[in-house]
């Protein structure tokens, strides 16, 4: 067996492409012609008929001139752009260019599928209607799976095959009967039956699901997924997508009649919509809800869901004026999911938030003026609530001469609150302060002898914000951001607007890049940075203290391609006060035709220290192994472990995986074994291993 990965499609009988011939001339060649009876001509001896992209080959053939019909009572072979049909008897009508085939074997070249049919009617445009068929995408002689059906329509324009009274047989054993089944007959992303998955895990017991794809219309479709769980009961999920000229969206509803372990019925719903109400007005809706906080922990088999802490519900209207201003209106709320929180930690609702942002387009002597204003009504049960209004006009000077660039910006931020249910002091606090920043950088470049481009960019960023006492201001949407490269050039170390940190500091940073000559891909990118505070930054948050004067932590970031396919990245944050690293991140990434490996170490002081190893490697042309292990070194235990094996042939694939991951705040694990069978050609959705492994993002751009 060679080590080539299993081909996406099986190799079917392929006679190569037909030389094209005129559409209005039917050409017949034969050894002999006998036109005995009136209007009937018998051709014999390696007869070949060619019309446009169609071709018939047989030993004998009869042409009826009155009916303008070709009759073939011997074994014949028909070929067209999409079909290859071998039939015992066949007919071809010259007027309608329709073919009729009896007792035939057919092959769909484009999608690598084949089958047999008692009879097939084939229209000029390639639409086919077949009776008593069998169908598979396995190569000739291999009947690992077949569909048998009373009737099959092949709609070439839609690219869909629709079977009636269909039975799916796996290795000859009937597995599923369905009165209606659709599947793709070209490579458009559409499918009929998705692939079934069978598992058994500690949260749901034996867990069997078989998604069915419903192609309702060219621009909206749905997936219906019945799911049987031995420990909990039967669940049904319906996920739909729609694509309209001015909007697109998807929705998903799950309903579990009554959960034996939970004691009552449970469900979830999700709705995402993006649409244009006019060419300038856009509506964006994100809605997700679950019937109870433990829903994902119990029912989802993927750590990406069980690790969610909140579900966002928001609707946002954005008006973009042809001038230079944008108005946004937002209503937003969150549903907290199970975790060790008290109500006080829940996020505030924004009912509503109004934003206005404007910036002059042209600049007057490299200077532009702008304003951003915001009014938000924050509410949260038994907490301080209120309206916060902010107005922030600013003036920005920016000049770039290529070799050097300079920017300066002066803002005036005025914020006012109207609070209620406020236990601390004034109900109408306000705060007014200027924010000044100046930014300057030099750019050096060099073409190294390999033709690659090297860039060196030192940069200085000075920030001045006077101190304003803000301890009495509420904390609605504010928190301290990560100390990382973006914060080196940020004008406030807090995100949100309830706190604007006082600052009198200078950031020094250096970026060094080496780019490949050919592709311009990054061979090396190193960045260093550090903030020096001339004064202490005294504004604080309940969970974020003040920062002393003097130099802040040193930051270094490095991305480097070690060799073809192997790249390393690392992030280091070193604290001069403690003389230790407050954050380190190291990662190795290996990509080499099918072999994918990632090894990462992540440490954030006081928060986490974890390793993350993932591997996906072909063992032979049919076998592939994959695995991921996330361990927490602080608690010295694995948080998410996955081991998977995949056996793939050109027409089916079987994936088995074992998974154990931390699922809820009580520290319980969900561990289970899952089996997934994919009948290639019945489904084009590729969710298989990829869903379990980290996305294939490439921080280095490309390798």
């Amino acid at each position: 067996q060679n080590d080539e990965p299993a081909p996406a499609m099986c190799q079917q009988l392929d006679l190569g492409t037909l030389p094209s011939s005129p559409l209005d001339k039917l050409v017949l060649t034969a050894d002999s012609l006998r036109a005995e009876r009136q209007g009937l001509a018998d051709l014999a001896g390696s007869v070949r008929l060619r019309l446009g992209d169609k071709e018939f080959v047989s030993d004998a053939l009869q042409y009826n001139d009155e009916l303008r019909r070709i009759q073939i009572n011997k074994a014949s072979q028909f070929r067209s752009e999409d079909y290859l049909i071998r039939a015992e008897r066949a007919q071809f009508d010259l007027n309608s260019e329709e073919g009729l085939f009896e007792d035939s074997e057919f092959t769909l070249g484009k999608v690598g599928a084949r089958g047999s049919a008692r009879s097939i009617q084939l229209s000029r445009a390639g639409e086919a209607s077949a009776q008593e068929i069998s169908y598979t995408s396995c190569s000739p002689g291999d009947n690992s799976w077949t569909i048998t059906a009373g009737r099959l329509y092949l709609n070439r324009e839609e690219g869909l095959g629709t079977a009636r009274n269909a039975t799916i047989r796996i290795a000859g054993v009937p597995v599923l009967y369905t009165p209606y089944l659709q599947f793709p007959i070209d490579d458009r992303r559409r499918s009929g039956l998705l692939f079934p998955s069978l598992g058994s895990d500690s949260r749901t017991g034996i867990d069997f699901a078989w998604p069915i794809y419903l192609n309702l219309a060219p621009n909206y479709d749905a997936i219906l997924t019945p799911r049987m769980m031995s420990d909990r009961g039967n669940q049904v999920a319906l996920a739909g997508r729609y694509l309209l000229p001015r909007a697109e969206g998807r929705s998903r509803f799950e309903y579990l009649a009554d959960d034996q372990q939970f004691g009552r019925s449970r469900g979830s719903s999700e709705f995402v919509h993006n649409g244009l109400l006019s060419s300038r007005l856009a509506l964006e809706i994100n809605y997700a809800e679950v019937s109870d906080p433990n829903y994902f922990e119990d029912l989802s088999r993927v750590v990406d869901f069980s690790s969610l802490t909140h579900l966002e519900r928001s609707a946002r209207l954005t008006y973009q004026s042809p001038g230079a201003y944008t108005v946004q209106a937002l209503v937003q709320d969150f549903q907290p999911l199970a975790s060790a929180f008290t109500a006080v930690d829940d996020p505030y609702r924004r009912l509503p938030e109004l934003r206005f942002d404007a910036l002059t387009r042209e600049d007057w002597h490299d200077t532009r003026a702008g304003i951003s204003a915001q009014a938000v009504n924050f509410t949260r049960p038994d907490s301080v609530e209120g309206l916060r209004q902010t107005v922030q006009p600013y003036v920005r000077y920016s000049r770039d001469l290529g070799a050097m660039f300079g920017r300066a910006q002066l803002d005036l931020n005025h914020t006012r609150y109207q609070l209620s249910n406020n236990s601390t002091g004034d109900d109408n606090p306000e705060r007014t302060l200027p924010i000044f920043s100046a930014d300057a950088g030099l750019r050096f470049y060099k073409f190294d002898n390999g033709g690659g481009l090297q860039l060196l960019e030192p940069r200085l960023f000075y920030l001045y914000v006077p101190y304003r006492e803000q301890d009495t201001l509420p904390v609605f949407d504010t928190g301290e951001t990560d100390y990382d490269v973006p914060r080196l050039f940020a004008r406030n170390r807090f995100s949100g607007l309830d706190r604007i940190a006082d600052a009198n500091q200078l950031t020094t940073a250096l970026t060094w890049r080496q780019l490949d000559a050919g592709t311009g891909a990054t061979r090396l990118a190193a960045s260093f940075g550090q903030i020096y505070r001339f004064e202490e930054s005294r504004v604080t948050l309940p969970d974020a203290g003040s920062l002393d004067a003097g130099s802040s932590d040193y930051l270094a970031g490095l991305e480097m391609r070690l060799m073809q396919g192997l790249s390393a990245t690392s992030t280091l944050q070193w604290s001069p006060d403690s003389g230790r690293f407050s954050r380190t991140g190291m990662a190795l990434r290996y990509r080499n035709d099918g072999l994918r490996g990632d090894l990462a170490y992540r440490f954030r002081q006081g928060l986490l220290e974890q390793t993350d190893l993932s591997l996906s490697a072909p063992v032979s042309s049919a076998w592939r192994l994959a695995g991921r292990l996330r361990r927490s070194l602080r608690d010295n235990r694995s948080l998410d472990a996955l081991a998977g094996v995949e056996y793939e042939t050109c027409c089916w694939a079987l994936r088995g995986s074992y998974r154990r991951y931390l699922v809820n705040s009580a520290g319980e694990f969900n561990s289970g074994v899952y089996l997934q069978l994919e009948l290639k050609g019945l489904s084009r959705f590729g969710a298989g291993f990829d869903e379990l492994l980290p996305g294939d993002d490439r921080p280095l751009g490309d390798d």
Binding site: D345, F444, G520, D612
Partner: protein, 169 residues
């Protein structure tokens, strides 16, 4: 050590007159990537057209996709660290002909997550999105520059780089 001021580094002539179009279906406002690209191009002296037919070269970007991956898990199984990955596909055409084959550019950055500071983290994510799309604009421009460079580097005045001590860590 052989470095020269960037001012003397001309933009490839092909980019002198360019139209930038980022396809974000069903959105009305310009993504930060487009704003940054236009700003950088015009700062480098290119003439950024407002309509496609006004420029000989078209830089088309589409599939601007953002993905948030769970990285580290806390002792309660909840996310402690996310990775924001933004990717875009791009191609450069001139008079209908492909100058650069379509390619994908993706950037990502990790950030910590506190469940009790959702709104703050959402605002931080928005700042991160703006920062990443700005970085994307810079990387894209560098790729175009290297990919579209016609004149070979002037070998005359380039002094081999004195090896800078490898950065720490």
């Amino acid at each position: 050590c052989g470095f020269q001021f960037a001012g003397s580094r001309p933009l490839p002539a092909v980019l002198d007159s360019i139209y930038v179009d980022v396809e974000v279906p069903y959105r009305v406002s310009e993504p930060p990537l487009e704003t940054a690209l236009r700003a950088r191009l015009s700062q480098r002296g290119a003439e950024v057209a407002t309509r496609a037919d006004q420029a000989e070269t078209q830089l088309r970007l589409w599939d601007l996709v953002e993905r948030r991956e769970t990285l580290s898990l806390g002792p309660d199984g909840k996310a402690l660290e996310y990775r924001l990955v933004i990717s875009v596909r791009y191609e450069v055409r001139r008079a209908g002909k492909l100058l650069l084959p379509a390619d994908t550019l993706s950037v990502s950055r990790d950030y910590s997550f506190q469940p009790n500071r959702i709104l703050a983290k959402e605002a931080e994510e928005a700042q991160l999105r703006e920062f990443l799309q700005g970085e994307m604009a810079e990387l894209l421009l560098l790729r175009l520059e290297v990919g579209l460079r016609e004149t070979p580097p002037e070998p005359a005045n380039v002094v081999p780089l004195v090896p800078v001590p490898a950065p720490a860590g």
